[in-house]
Structures are given as structure tokens and as C-alpha cells.
Symmetry: C2
Subunit: 113 residues, 2 copies
């Protein structure tokens, strides 16, 4: 993962409303939720929800699929995996800041790409 992509993903999550949306989608699992359901759950105007979900989508953290007249959004777990890998690889010296539970692994390093 290049730094630009990591920055884009971080920026997408670095906003309270968007982080809340993403958490909700993670909670919802692979099925995801349609736009209205997210808006209802978080008490957001449709335009605001649409704006934020579009940003998450642009950063590839959220996928969209049409289903009837609904649009379902779902968390992209693989992208989150890559972001976490980037952070552990580049922002932790020798895994020094991996969560304690993961700290004493044989080798948590990953292909640098």
C-alpha cells in the first residue's frame, strides 16, 4: 500500500460521522445496510449521509451495490486489513505498537509492497 492510499483511507475515517458510519457497517457485516437505514440509525439528513458514504466509497473502504431501489453499502474488510497492515508495518517499530494480544507473534511483518 502506498502512502497516498493510506492517507486517503485514514482521512476517510478521520471524521466522527464517517467513523460512526463505518462502525455501523462493520457491525452490519457483509450484507451491509441501505443508505436510508444508515441515515436513520445515525439521525443524519439524506444529503449528509450520501456525502460521507461517497467519501468512504472513494477511499475504497465501503462498497456499494444496488438492490431494487435501495443501495446497500458494506464495509470493505480487505481494505481495512490493508490499512492496519500498513500502519503496523510502517508506524510500529518492530511491531512495538501492535496490540498487546498480537505482540508476541513469530513474525507479524508482511510483504512491504
Amino acid at each position: 500500500m502506498e502512502i497516498n492510499i493510506a492517507v486517503a483511507a485514514l482521512a476517510a475515517l478521520a471524521q466522527e460521522t464517517r467513523l460512526a458510519i463505518f462502525r455501523r457497517l462493520v457491525e452490519a457485516g457483509p450484507e451491509g445496510l441501505n443508505a436510508g437505514a444508515i441515515a436513520d440509525a445515525l439521525g443524519l439528513p439524506a444529503a449528509t449521509l450520501s456525502f460521507h458514504v461517497a467519501q468512504l466509497n472513494r477511499a475504497s473502504l465501503v462498497a456499494a451495490r444496488q438492490e431494487g431501489r435501495f443501495i446497500f453499502y458494506s464495509a470493505n474488510f480487505a481494505a481495512m486489513d490493508e490499512l492496519l497492515a500498513y500502519l503496523t508495518d510502517n508506524c510500529c517499530q518492530g511491531g512495538a505498537c501492535l496490540p498487546k494480544a498480537a505482540r508476541n507473534l513469530p513474525s507479524a511483518r508482511r510483504k512491504s509492497k
Copy 2:
């Protein structure tokens, strides 16, 4: 970790210059680097470096210590640990997006607060 703190940390890292600074400090280890050295390494004007490092500091991702007439900045590994823990706890369904190397752990869950 509360959502506000996570957002603040993410926002601090969600900027190319700042992420580069943080990476450099991680690389430098606990000793850290003085402001001028960081600026030189990244080719940044002093004012710009100071601005960004202050943001990282406000987000508690970077610590500062005076040493003679230099000010040394160093990465706060514990804070990074907490951020990673927040992300894995709240943005990965059952650890579904933990980096592969860490995925099959007995229990990567951590105290929620």
C-alpha cells in the same frame, strides 16, 4: 479509547506530510529527532514542520522533550497501540480484518473502554 480520541489520532495521521513525519519518528525510535533534523530529512520549511508536529503532539501521537537548545520529538508507541486496538476492536468484525499474520490468535479482543 473514545471515538473522539480515535478521530483525533486518525486526523493527525491523515495527511501526507504528517504521516511522513510520524514514520520518520517511528524509524528513529524512542530517542526521536530534533525539529531541524526532521525538517531537513523531509525538506520542509521550519514553520511547516512546526505546524504539523504540533498537531501530532496535540493528538498525543508524538512526545516532545527539550534537550539543550534542541527539541526532540519522538513517536508515542503506546498511543499508536491504542489506536490500532480501537480499529481492530471497532472496525473489524470479530477480527475479520486483522492483518493475516495476527488473524489466528487465541483472543485479540481487548478491554473495550
